[in-house]
């Protein structure tokens, strides 16, 4: 079998996935909102900082 025989199948597959258009709002909602991971980074960073300060204070024996 030659891989080239499957070229039309790949084109057909792409065509079948191109039937319904993507809503502009859907694309805008993706590119306009910052990734969730980045949003969640700040509270985690603050928590780790406070924890570090607390541990440092305790370990100093003060």
């Amino acid at each position: 079998m030659k891989l080239n025989d499957l070229k039309p199948a790949w084109q057909q597959r792409k065509l079948s996935h191109a039937l319904s258009e993507i809503d502009a709002h859907e694309i805008l909602s993706i590119i306009d909102s910052p990734p969730v991971a980045k949003k969640a980074q700040l509270p985690r960073l603050l928590f780790n900082l406070l924890l570090f300060i607390a541990i440092t204070l305790v370990c100093q024996g003060g």
């Binding site: 499957l6 199948a9 597959r13 792409k14 996935h17 191109a18 694309i27 805008l28």
Partner: protein
Amino acid sequence: MELNKQNFIQLINANRGTIRSLCQAYFRGDEDQKDAFQDIILQLWKSFESYEGRAAVNTWIYKVSLNTLLTKIRKEKKSVAAEPIDTGHYYISQAKADDHVELLSLILQSLKETDKALVILHLEGYQNKEIADILNLSPSNVSTRFNRLKNHLKLKFKPKPHETK
């Protein structure tokens, strides 16, 4: 709406078949495919301004999409696992037009992530050197992988025994 965003939306819609097909080739569940689709759109948007038409649109779409998918899979270790097609050989000589679509799905399912990308880019008409550039591989690595792949497919997808002369 900014002109830049309008152009981007048009470009995405013009290539929606490619992007969706790639997501489906790498992820099985609807949610995973949707997630991958969003990641690709975001990466395309991030590189949209620096793109400036230096490469063909199609090549840029494939480069960003495939690299996003491969990175996502490596990061999450979550993808459609390669399924060995050991339950018997698929008889290519019986295949009709629709069967080729099915056969393509079977082949893609049986391949590991990078090999899958190689096959897809080959089917899209890219030469080994271009494939190497898109996937950030060396041309010799691409050639070696292709030779291995061809042997694998030859073994797995034989012609029907009584039809061979």
